[in-house]
């Protein structure tokens, strides 16, 4: 059992951020709805089926995708399996410690997982080899290399880029067995979910909070948007609260922003 700890920040810094916010300004001169500089590289790990490295300002996240054979879950015998896990590496931040995953890394993995799963980004039905016996398992592993705020968006962008980038060995099914053939094929991708994370500072909502902004914000909301503009996942966190109007406004901000971010992923990953 752990409690929510508000990370400490110098009062003077917190005051600067709050004061700027009253004029709709931010420490790094972004507007309230701007992302920091985003760089996505794909195919950085040769041994993985797919990979992507995302730089979001100083936040760095590496995502690797591995495709392996496995047993299906009893309640979904005709579907392949998707698993997302996240590792907050001790080298990424002074308070990240080695050991079993804590609630922050579990939440990160599950929010990214929910976006990909609920939007049906990967057509898991096409990953079935023999119903109830054998399916493909897609492992998405999120590796946080450097933490400077907004891990969710960096990880979700990385995970989407990595599954678009992923190639598995071409195969055919003979008597329920997988026989590999020449060549590589992409994963069955059919949707492109984009996670947009917002923070509430004072009475303003900002997109892509940096670490300093995370330290003063009172609530966090992630909204994941599908390619048709529908919402497929949401997660709120933090010690604070949102009014109903703030919540609706935030969802509107996410819907408006998602298209631009999706274009960035498509440019980088395809």
């Amino acid at each position: 059992m752990s409690s929510t700890r508000q990370p400490s920040i110098a009062k003077i810094e917190s005051k600067t951020i709050m004061d700027l916010m009253t004029n709709n300004r931010r420490l790094d001169d972004r507007t309230l709805t701007d992302y920091r500089e985003l760089k996505i590289e794909v195919g950085v790990i040769d041994k993985a089926n797919g990979s992507a490295k995302v730089h979001l300002g100083k936040t760095k996240v590496l995502v690797g995708v591995k495709v392996e054979l496995g047993d299906p879950f009893p309640d979904t015998p005709e579907e392949g399996i998707l698993t997302v896990s996240a590792e907050l590496l001790p080298l990424a931040y002074p308070t990240f410690e080695p050991g079993p995953p804590g609630e922050n890394s579990i939440e990160l993995a599950r929010v990214v997982d929910r976006g990909i799963r609920e939007s049906k980004a990967i057509d898991v039905k096409r990953l079935c080899i023999e119903p109830g016996k054998k399916v493909f398992v897609v492992f998405i592993d999120i590796y946080v290399l450097d933490y400077d705020g907004n891990l969710i968006d960096a990880s979700a962008l990385g995970a989407l880029s990595a599954i678009i980038n992923a190639k598995m060995r071409n195969y055919e099914i003979k008597d329920g067995e997988v026989v590999y053939k020449e060549g590589l094929i992409p994963l069955p991708i059919q949707n492109y979910p984009i996670a947009i994370t917002m923070g509430k500072i004072g009475n303003s909502m900002i997109i892509d909070p940096s670490l300093k902004e995370e330290q003063v914000m009172t609530a966090r909301l992630t909204v994941t948007i599908e390619k048709d503009g529908n919402i497929c996942a949401m997660q709120m966190a933090g010690l604070g609260e949102l009014s109903i109007d703030e919540l609706k406004k935030a969802v509107g901000m996410a819907v408006a922003k998602a298209g631009e971010m999706r274009t960035r992923v498509m440019e980088a990953a395809t």
Binding site: T4, E107, A233, Q235
Partner: protein, 202 residues
């Protein structure tokens, strides 16, 4: 079932916070609570829900009154049929109030969802599995502040607003029931005392 212990001395000491009580929460499902037996070891889902329930009730608690102490919330799901996190939040805030922990208000939680294109309130287990979306919402009814939203599934922005207002209305109904439940405990005591008095008077 929800139990609350505290505010009490923080143990181990390093979990204590200098400026407020450390609120901790454990959400756990009994092995026999689901269709198929589940391992009693805490799952990743349990870990996430523990965090979510804690953060949903914490805005309502005056934790600044009890620095360096802990308030522990234990949520045990004995039988699950959907909506366990909403029930957990609703129960946790009631247990906190019953324990006499100072609070701004109770926290009421309720989910809305979508089945067959219809927006509906409070999905059961089967509806959750077969339905298209689930949107649990927790709020502080007196201020209308939302302390938790989660969503999975597929909703258009219009459907979302409809589901949100339905969940908020559901939350307000639950709030009335919470207040009744708190009062009932004292009504029972009052009745017992009056009963005794009238007998002694005879």
């Amino acid at each position: 079932m929800v139990a609350v212990y505290g505010p009490r001395e923080a143990h181990p000491r390093h979990v204590a916070l200098p400026d407020r009580a450390a609120i901790r929460c454990r959400y756990h499902m009994a092995p026999f609570s689901t269709e198929e037996r589940r391992s009693p070891a805490p799952s990743r889902r349990d870990m996430e829900l523990s965090k979510v329930i804690r953060e949903a009730v914490e805005p309502a608690v005056f934790s600044k009154y009890y620095p360096r102490s802990t308030i522990d919330i234990s949520v045990e799901v004995l039988q699950s049929d959907g909506g366990t996190r909403s029930a957990g939040i609703t129960g946790a805030s009631l247990a906190l109030a019953d324990a006499g922990v100072p609070m701004r208000d109770l926290v009421a939680a309720c989910a809305a969802g979508k089945i067959d294109g219809q927006i509906v309130l409070d999905l059961c287990d089967e509806e959750d599995k077969l339905g298209e979306a689930d949107l649990p919402v927790a709020m502080i009814p007196s201020t209308g502040a939302i302390t938790l939203v989660q969503m999975d599934g597929d909703l258009s922005p219009e459907e979302f607003e409809k589901a949100l207002s339905m969940a908020v209305d559901g939350g307000r109904k639950i709030y009335e029931m919470q207040k009744e439940a708190l009062k009932r405990k004292y009504l029972v005591i009052k009745d017992a005392v009056e009963d005794k008095d009238s007998k002694e008077g005879e």
